[in-house]
Point group: C2
Chain length 755, copies 2
């Protein structure tokens, strides 16, 4: 029997009914009296000079209330925001002035009485362009003959002295001595891995309604991962005092990291300021692809040195991140070391400008790209050494007391346990490699692991007991992944009351205590802690008041079934409802618990995944036959929600590895800005996913919670590629694994002779 009453139970989501009935209100559902619709005029070119812009005809159209361009707003306002998880600063002009540097770049914004009028107005804006050559490939962009994307970019030099162009940022790191490591190696495997940009493809496109009142107070309704990031973003972007902005988070239809900072928000505010009326902007799916913040693509050259017995000696990488028009960084490259004790590691990484929009965060930002290369090459090593891929990993994997890249000793990690768990799930030892199905398809199993360590973020929570005995939690957290349900479970556990009687209230930035954004796997670790403390604080007040009402001592009391009982008595009790009412009469006052949290360290976890694939070697088409995953969740507050995260992340990883890519062409720009040509996986494409939860409790997470939103996406691309290798013997180094690419790789491999 569990030591817990509510925790560990797969209870239904607190927002299930409103989601299912359609009562949940998204930003696009918002409508205000006198509201206008905002639309953008965008560049069809990815690189061009603007010769002239004439908005006069658009302005003259009846029903058009404002037309904004670079000229009308000046350069004071900019899209400055901060990704609260990763600290990346993005600073861009709101509208193109005289040069276009990516397709879809905004040239003007219109507010009109209806969306159709706004579109008509866009048609009336005359822009004269002079097209210029564009570059999309990072390896072309660093060459001397590449067009310059951002003016005033310095030419840099690699450690070897090669000049690189269009580099925004670089990172270099050396641990140990890789040269010596490679020299001592029995086997060196190297390769160049390419992974395309992927879009987060949340169901709900970006949407906002902004209203500026007569006092200048700005109210913004939007589906965002962080109402406080939008608030601070708008303040710095538009020079509005923080305290004159209120952000109301509407129900969000997915974010995956893309809905942290500013996107369309400052435009809606500017249009509302210009017109004195509320303004709504909703992105189309095409706009999402042309002008949002997808995950960056990566080209990485990776080299691994290993002894015959499988001991990893050295790893070295040179990485080129496609950061579009930037800015952007190189973080994540260090993940080439993974969770392995590698004595010598070195990387040189470059953030390279291209004529593409600036990327942003996508679930475990930058981890899937690097982990793809890292874990795929590890399988190639295992294959070449004839060592089982699981055994190779276990041999090198760190455990408690070990350190990674010279860091402190690891505590509360369960890497090996997690990997063994997934191997167990799929009966790894007894699998058949290079099996062939009845229809001649080659079948194989791939395995891979991906690491993530949740961060922590500031959070406050208020928990109050009402006159009906219900507990209400007020916070400024957005529910992206079901964390409201888990927070309700945490509070119910502390207060020993029914989960159903906990209500979650999402405040706005005006009313709520600060809460960290819903991303970076920090939410339950951080806000969950604030909720736990608020519940504990309320519990103290409940017991104190109950002792007064029951004329006894606090330590003689017990809580059960929304009642406080005198221990050992069958009829001496006072109900939470009675206490809620009594609190309004006594000197103490309403029962209000406060919880505050900001930062405590957590522990790294891995998601270990196995993929079984069937490869049609005649067409290159894949079929996924089996999926399994084990994840160290620290403590499963709600197991089915944990599994939901595991499944969702793994499916996204499969999409990235198999079908999804943002495709660009020098002449034609983005080739697939829609969900017909940008191929998402559907449930028809996939079998179920077997999930196993490992619970190695963290020290500081509430009841041992570790953050789990991100790990599940990290190893999937690699696991898929490894499955294809297991089936065919061919290690494909570029994803997604389109039929053409798989067929081509197999053909080339066969052309080189049998393997």
């Amino acid at each position: 029997m569990s030591e817990f009453q509510v925790i560990g139970k797969s209870l239904p989501r607190v927002d299930a009914v409103e989601k299912v009935t359609g009562a949940a209100r998204y930003a696009a559902d918002m409508s205000l009296p006198g509201m206008l619709w905002g639309k953008f005029l965008r560049s069809p070119y990815d690189h061009a000079r603007i010769v002239g812009i004439d908005v006069s005809k658009a302005e003259a159209l009846p029903g058009v209330r404002a037309v904004l361009t670079h000229k009308s707003i000046g350069s004071a306002a900019s899209l400055a925001t901060e990704d609260s998880v990763h600290g990346t600063k993005v600073d861009q002009s709101l509208f193109a002035a005289d040069r276009i540097i990516y397709q879809g770049q905004k040239i003007a914004a219109v507010a009109a009485d209806s969306p159709h009028l706004a579109e008509d107005a866009l048609d009336l804006i005359e822009v004269e362009y002079e097209a210029l050559p564009a570059v999309h490939d990072v390896l072309e962009a660093i060459e001397p003959d590449a067009p310059i994307i951002q003016e005033n970019t310095n030419v840099i030099e690699t450690p070897e002295g090669t000049p690189l162009y269009n580099v925004c940022d670089q990172g270099h790191h050396a641990f140990g001595d890789v040269e010596q490591g490679f020299a001592e190696s029995d086997l060196i495997v190297e390769g160049t891995y390419r992974i395309a940009r992927a879009h987060q493809t949340y169901l709900e496109p970006h949407a906002v309604v902004a209203q500026v009142d007569a006092t200048g107070k700005v109210t913004v309704w939007t589906g965002t991962q962080s109402i406080f990031a939008i608030r601070s973003g708008l303040a710095s972007s538009l020079g509005i005092p923080l305290s004159k902005i209120n952000v109301i988070g509407t129900t969000i239809g997915g974010g995956f990291g893309a809905k942290f900072g500013l996107m369309i928000h400052p435009y809606a505010v500017l249009l509302s300021q210009a017109t004195g009326r509320p303004v709504k902007i909703v992105y189309s799916r095409e706009e999402e692809f042309l002008d949002a913040c997808p995950a960056p693509g990566l080209v990485i050259h990776l080299k691994t040195g290993v002894k015959k017995d499988g001991t990893l000696l050295a790893r070295q990488a040179t990485a080129y991140w496609n950061i579009g028009v930037g800015p952007g960084g190189t973080w994540g490259t260090g993940r080439i070391a993974g969770v392995y004790k590698i004595p010598n590691v070195k990387w040189d990484a470059y953030a390279v400008y291209t004529h593409e929009p600036t990327p942003g965060a996508y679930r475990a930002p930058n981890a899937p790209q690097v982990t793809f290369a890292s874990e795929a090459q590890l399988d190639e090593v295992a294959h070449k050494l004839g060592i089982d891929p699981v055994e190779l990993r276990l041999k090198n994997m760190a455990e408690e007391g070990d350190s990674l890249l010279g860091g402190g000793p690891l505590t509360r990690v369960a890497f090996k346990e997690t990997l063994r768990k997934v191997a167990e799930l799929v009966d790894w030892k007894n699998r058949k490699s290079k099996a062939v199905s009845s229809n001649g398809h080659k079948i194989g199993w791939g395995i891979a692991v991906g690491e993530w360590t949740n961060g922590a973020g500031p959070a406050g929570a208020i928990l109050s007991i009402h006159e009906d005995g219900i507990a209400r939690i007020l916070y400024g957290k957005v529910d992206l992944t079901g964390t409201d349900t888990a927070c309700a479970q945490i509070a119910a556990e502390v207060l020993e009351m029914p989960f159903e009687d906990i209500q979650i209230i999402h405040g706005d930035t005006d009313s709520s205590p600060y809460a960290t954004g819903s991303g970076g796997s920090v939410v339950l670790f951080s806000v969950g802690n604030a909720v736990k403390r608020a519940a504990e604080h309320a519990r103290e007040q409940i017991l104190t008041l109950a002792a007064q009402e029951l004329k006894t001592e606090v330590d003689k009391l017990a809580i059960h079934d929304k009642r406080v009982w005198v221990q050992g008595s069958e009829d001496e009790y006072v109900s939470f409802a009675e206490l809620g009412q009594a609190s309004l009469r006594t000197t103490g006052g309403p029962l209000i618990g406060t919880g505050r949290f900001a930062n405590e360290p957590s522990h790294p976890v891995i998601s270990a995944q196995a993929v079984q694939v069937a490869v049609d070697t005649e067409t290159g088409k894949l079929k996924i036959l089996g999926l399994a995953q084990a994840l160290d969740v620290g403590r499963a507050i709600n197991p089915v929600e944990c599994e939901g995260q595991m499944q969702g992340g793994m499916i996204q990883g499969l999409g990235w590895g198999w079908t999804e890519q943002m495709a660009y062409d020098k002449e034609r720009g983005n080739l697939n800005p829609n969900l017909l040509d940008y191929q998402l996986l559907s449930t028809n494409d996939l079998p179920g996913i077997d999930c196993a939860l490992v619970e190695k409790e963290s020290e500081h997470g509430p009841f041992g919670v570790k953050g789990i939103g991100e790990p599940p996406i990290t190893p999937t691309v690699a696991a898929l590629v490894n499955a294809v290798a297991d089936a065919t013997g061919v290690h494909v180094t570029e994803v997604p694994l389109t039929p053409e690419r798989v067929y081509g790789a197999i053909s080339r491999a066969e052309g080189k002779g049998p393997r």
Copy 2:
């Protein structure tokens, strides 16, 4: 120099800009997509039998979405609510079934696409009535031949054995032995005093928008004195769980006690439930007069026994409160004892039904009516004994250590100081009684005092420090009278920060900690305490964090100018903004102070008032020449706001005494349901009011605050009547002092011979 930095300053109201610019949103300003308008069909009769109701034509009108009557909603729902200040229970059917008992009683409610369509639908509802005789005078209503207003009302007997009809409630109280007191008296004065119903005449009529979503969650926007009272009222009225109701308080345009409980709210909810769309209801001014909750009228027979030297020996009253169709009580009758040490007091009071709407609270409920009789008769006593009215009062007035009606010894009272203060203001001793102006008008001064003791109510407040160093207060209190400004001053004082940097956030019932309703003079005493405690709690956190950041001890720190300084150092400091930001990084978490308060006793205060009047004895017309008031405010947080309360209350008292009355006629019903015929005073009618604040600090109010919203209305009717008596020698016993009534009283007095 004041011991305070912010308290005691007449700072501008925090809501000044939004009020002046029109940015403040009242409930009637609310508009939601798809919103319907609700209107009521009302009875033109004040007593009738309903023979039949036919709504079919109304229902058939296109654009009409719902028609509700007694039949369609059944009897489950009712207008059950509780006046949180006085505990009066009101329970009424929402619609008339087969009998009408007051004019304006609701028969049906319609929701339609526009207000005009709704009105058209009302015209299409066919109701057949059979008119019945009505009664409006309480002394007629208690007679055996009066029509019965509420069926099943028991006939009661007075202590003398007289049967009384139509009595809802009675109250009898005896202190000492009045018979003996009268026997020992040298002079006995008695008379019957009549005061009419008065309407609170807030500028903003009742308004509500209700929305019921697909999950059944009810959201209500309304201008109310207590969002929590509306929530609990709706819950019990409609049988909806408390936690499925959210009440959002919009800016309120006056309440004066009338906007505490349910009025139009359940109808809007029922119409929204019936139509699935938001519904707005806004009362017209006529509806306010016909079907709201004005102050009850009173007929009171009062008798005072006194010794020659002015020592009060006995007081006895029989009171008949006009509680309309009820229910209602007799509270307030005990105010015949005032703040005087009278050894023998007795009263018998009856709450009498009439064919008028149920009254409700109006600023210091029931006090002005009784105080009128009590303080007017005291002047007649003074006149007959030849003792100065101020001296007579001072002689009998209680002071610290005395007890009233056998209660505990008084502490922290300043009755005499307050009375002396107003006498000083008008140079009472040197005034000329029975002066005559150049145009022959008779001039006189009246003085009177009225007592009120503020209660206390439950309140929570959350105060958080944001990243820009601003402090935000979240609470569920409604700002009716400027208490937001005073609360901001209290927080600024505690945090030693600029008043301008405190922001007030009004939460809704979902997000806010509980707050007592804004009435009963409890607000600043109660919520002010919660705010003070929240600020103190935040201050602790600020100092703790600052000590960490400055690497010193808390007791070495001082706060000044939104910075925490190391004492004695000129450059070692950390700003509130830096602390707000730092709190998001440390282990402590966001700076969130919580304050809780529910109940502590306060102390009685008096408002002492003087009125100078000129009486045109040929027409009975009055002109007010001078007005003065002294009030014990405990501690003036914002003196000009205190004066605002004093002036507002006194003007309302003057209206009640001089021009305002809800007039009814047996045949024609309400004679003046509009602001042309119901005469309010305007600034043209009045001189300025000299105000003096007495500050006898209370023990438990924040910084010594006592509640001051209500006292200023209590003695004004009496002071006006006493001024007319001082000018003319005629003690008028019925108000308002219309010209006819004053002229008549003077004529009758003259007919009896010179006085």
